[in-house]
Amino acid sequence: MRTHWNLFIAFFRVGILGFGGGPASIPLIQKEVVDHYKWMDNEEFGDILALANTLPGPIATKLPGYIGYRVGQTLGMINAVLATIVPTILLMIVLLTTLSQFREFNWVQGMTAAVVPVVGMMMAVLTWQFARKASIGLGWVKTCIFLVLFFIILQILNVHPGILIAVLLILALSLPARKRQRKNKEGEDI
């Protein structure tokens, strides 16, 4: 019982303090799990982080889930994941349903209109970050060629991104690995 309470508190704090999305909460998780509750040492945590980074999906649910499972089996897993995500989901639902009740008012329409370009800017910055990360691993020339090629496939040929990504994953696993694999800082804290 005590373990489950600790798991809940640890990941509740992570979820509610992790401003800036999943990657921002990795150091918070490390603090709770390694420094505070000593469920594992730093090395083990690093292994789990590297492992989680090789898989798709949000990092801030894979880590709590896996650590919760290690500490308290299936119930621990469910407990840790829910403690991380439920508080902010509830906050989202309450805030957005309140906002939509006032939608007819002019000032609310003004507010939402002003947010669109700001979010666009944030997405543009993320675009740049992903392109730069790709270029660290692939080099700029290859990255540019891929970007143009993928743009054509996705936007002009209208291929579903899932199909393109699936093909690339198969290629990544099946193409022979080059000897001169450039050392990159890939997967450190995506």
Binding site: G22, I85, V115, M121, M122, A124
Partner: protein
Amino acid sequence: MIYIDIFIAFFIPGILGYGGGPASIPLIENEVVIRYGWMSVQEFSEILALGNSLPGPIATKMAGYIGYEVGGIPGAVVGVFATVAPSLILLIFLGGMLLKYKDSPKVKRLTLFVQPVIAILLGVMAWRFFSESYEGIGIWQTALLVGVSFLLIERFKIHPALIIAGALIYGGFLL
């Protein structure tokens, strides 16, 4: 069955979003706005803006709220489950096996190969937000908001939540 649609809409980003939560944002948009048409670009960007200003992982906040809007509380549960479960189950059951291969160059380049696709999807999404804004409030307001928010976040490192709050106040009074 709406719940099956919700499941698929979030299962695909969950299983293909290499690069953590942010990588799944454009994949979620692709399903929710373009494929299923549950909401407009404007609504999606509002949800994203609020999601970015609140703490916690972004992908599950999007799944929880959009699932709730489309299918009530069961919809939220289905959306979150589809986002979290697939990769978590893989991690727990294949963990030991994956640990052996985590330094293999082939496994390491999984994320690398997918990154350019995510970059394109994010770029196209940014473009859609800009053109939506251009149609709504014109080029000058759009350029002003983009320029000022970029400087404040990237140059002066002000927290994005404060920028979103600032934009809301500006819009409430002046647009």
